[in-house]
Amino acid sequence: MEEKTYLEEVDRNIYDFKNKDDYDYKIKKGLTKEIVEEISRQKNDPDWMREIRLKALDIYNSLELPTWGPDLSVLDMDEIATYVRPKSKLNSSWEDVPEDIKDTFEKLGIPEAEKKSLAGVGAQYDSEVVYHSMKEDLIKQGVIYTDMETAVREYPDIVKEHFMKCVPVNDHKFVALHAAVWSGGSFVYVPKGVKLDFPLQSYFRLNSPESGQFEHTLIIVEEGASLHFIEGCSAPKYNKVNLHAGCVELYVKDNAYLRYSTIENWSKNMLNLNTKKAIIGKNAQVDWVSGSFGSKISMLYPMSILNGENAKTEYTGISFAGGGQNLDTGFKVIHNAPNTSSVINSKSISKNGGKCTYRSLVRIAENAKNSKSTVSCESLMLDDISVSDTIPVNDIRTDDVEFSHEATIGKLSDKAIFYLMSRGLTEEDAKAMIVRGFAYPISKELPIEYAVEMNNLINLELKGAIG
């Protein structure tokens, strides 16, 4: 008869392999002034960066945990090591990356994707970037793609002007934490008028248990330039909590274009408290594509600030929460200039008691006349024990706008399941087909290998798991 096996965990196979916690240096757990100073010393920070860190620590200590959203009381900073230096320096050839680390990225398909479809790759393992490389012709055109530490050393003026300026240190408690202990991440500079035909991809892998990853991504796309940047992240599962508090700052100048795609597949012991913002100039556009599948708790709300006339932004996001996961995601947009537009498309799927919350802010300032904003969010719950919620905040300060908001929360349609089963599909196949169809408008926006992976993930998640 019908077999109903509730899978506690999907077989995350390629993500869950663990390497030995074999580091070059791991700082002791906790968060004190001494620890922050030690990280700064270990990283050979210039004085100005050490000062930013120490000031940020004070701000961190003065701020409260958010009083809204998921309960973060499972996080105990005394149990987190904020800096883990892998047994590898930064390399520009995979041959030079130590075997076990290289093996990890090979399993994740990074070197292969680099050969096939990418213009450059960065790979971070725990707290440091172990590989960075970009195609020769882009270097000649003046494109810079390197790790943040190199950027601090070699382009201090650019970094000083932009670091923690788009996302201010006092934005919230975990931004302050990030600024105090940040390590790794990517720096991208695309000069005026340079358009990249292929994406750059940075991949962040956290292998070390009871630790955190705090990479900083700073991207500057100059006037009329164009870039597609992909970030991927994953970690094997441990019993104790891991923490990810990255920060992404995007500066997209007049007439420029940036597409920022993220696939997050953290293990289900991860707290993912990430902050991302873009400042967007005249006639410029930023498109965010975001897939959130992993983590125990996510609080992730990328933000576009439309500062120039005719600036545009689109957010396309999907989250998929299984049992024990609380994914609180969404988008924020500030319309700060006339004729700006934003399009938000969000979908979420929850099953086996998972919780998905869509949380958003749309602010249209008084001067942003003739602006447009379209919000659509759809949630699908696969059973009666899963939860879905929508919490939009709309702050419209001028009448001269077009604004629409649509939200639907639904369950799998019995009629559609019956229709598909009447064609010979099993219940499982029918449900997977409907869920893939629901996700399709988003998955088609993902980089192809991730779209395939997402469909596999849906199949895996649904296999025998629906009652």
Partner: protein, 247 residues
């Protein structure tokens, strides 16, 4: 005559309400049967009950298909035995094209791999016969299709999946004359001496080009009269009045 479908004293409830109150119906291979009846008489319930739709509860009787009791089989198992239903309101399924869906379903019902190039040619041929725009093969299943295109797409699926028994649940409703002719043509193409068709309908236009073996009049959950094709014409002219009175 070889029996294909045998329904014995079938009693079916929908949400505790008794809809079918003892249906008996036998369809042999090679036959076309028609069920007619006023709204709410249980026509669609009969179709859904054959397919064991979980929205309905069978409280008595049984259904034998091709010598096997299928009363308690699941919908997909019944489909894989060779039963097909053309839906009154086909569901829209985003994210999968008509071709890919049919390839998936064909593989499920036959248990064999589908050769994609031959399969595409087959679909193309049928679409031409059904006056369907070939672009629909690459569109998402029923998404944004007009009522008529959805019904034609059901007939396309019938031809491709080639079942033993087809149930057409008001396939002709809401269609114009030309579209009804196309549907009739599809049934003619499908029909042979080894399969059978059960047409549930309100009107007789769909029957004009078909040789119907039996017409059943369903009123208030029971078959009150069975007759030849001429019975359909009689009902079209006179309505159900005299059968209703007899209930």
């Amino acid at each position: 005559m070889k029996k294909l479908l045998e329904i014995n004293d079938l009693r079916v409830n929908a949400e505790e309400k008794e809809i079918l109150k003892g249906i008996n119906l036998t369809i042999n291979k090679g036959e076309i049967h028609v069920i007619m009846g006023p709204n709410g008489s249980g026509k669609s319930t009969t179709a859904n009950a054959i397919f064991n739709n979980p929205m309905y509860t069978t409280v008595g009787g049984n259904i034998v298909f091709d010598g096997e009791d299928i009363t308690n089989l699941s919908t997909d198992e019944i489909a894989r035995k060779g039963v097909f239903m053309s839906f009154q309101s086909p569901e829209e399924i985003p994210g999968i094209t008509v071709t890919n869906f049919l390839k998936f379903a064909k593989n499920k019902v036959t248990g064999k791999p589908v050769k994609i190039f031959e399969f595409k040619d087959e679909i193309k041929k049928y679409m031409e016969e059904l006056n369907m725009n070939p672009k629909y093969a690459e569109r998402n299943l029923n998404v944004g299709f007009s009522g008529g295109e959805k019904k034609k797409n059901e007939i396309l699926q019938m031809l491709v999946l080639n079942p033993k028994l087809v149930i057409l649940d008001e396939t002709d409703s809401g269609l114009d004359v030309d579209a009804i002719k196309t549907v009739s043509k599809g049934i003619e193409m499908f029909k042979n001496e080894n399969n059978a068709v059960l047409i549930i309908t309100h009107n007789t236009k769909i029957l004009h080009n078909l040789k119907v073996d039996k017409v059943h009049v369903l009123v208030d959950g029971k078959i009150v009269k069975t007759g030849p094709q001429s019975l359909a014409t009689e009902i079209e002219e006179e309505g159900y009045g005299k059968y209703k009175a007899g209930v």
